[in-house]
Subunit: 101 residues, 2 copies
């Protein structure tokens, strides 16, 4: 299952973050694979594939991780979520309208 999300502007300096290897390992531990973020005109698009069986539980595990919380505390002030996002969303989920393997 692949997912697409988009939101407003962010500047990322991943290599500057203490413990970024820990954050990457947590992403993998939460069954996220092939995770990319793209930027164009101040708009971000994130793509990843979820390979687990309990998405909500994995997302809760990620949110509970202290290193991930530290990372989000740096990143979130640089992000402006879309006004059209759904209630409870930060990144706004996009509708998949086409897929060819």
């Amino acid at each position: 299952v692949s997912s697409g999300f988009c939101m407003g502007f962010m500047i990322a300096h991943h290599s500057c973050v203490r413990g970024s290897a820990d954050i990457f390992a947590m992403i993998t531990a939460c069954n996220i694979r092939n995770y990319s973020i793209y930027l164009k005109d101040g708009l971000l698009f994130a793509y990843y594939e979820y390979v687990g069986t309990d998405y909500d539980a994995d997302m809760a595990k990620m949110a509970a991780d202290p290193r991930t919380q530290e990372w989000w505390a740096i990143m979130k002030p640089m992000q402006k979520p879309l006004d059209t996002r759904a209630p409870g969303e930060w990144w706004a989920e996009m509708q998949e309208i086409f897929h060819v393997d």
Copy 2:
């Protein structure tokens, strides 16, 4: 190598197109894999992975395919490319700023 692109509004009715199986087969023949298109607020994001060795040659092959030309003739009038696209672009390439396998 994965790629991200975005552009303006499109309405797609893929199943209505004659020979859509041919078009999908041509996409695969041109070494495109894991190709998805997402929609949010009239903005499209396309993601795919190129697994060949000569991207320009594969894109030329796709562009020369009659079924693909028929498909594009239907789709392009429904698409509004981004004003900020590079010269020669239709879909505007996005910069990949983050990746975790």
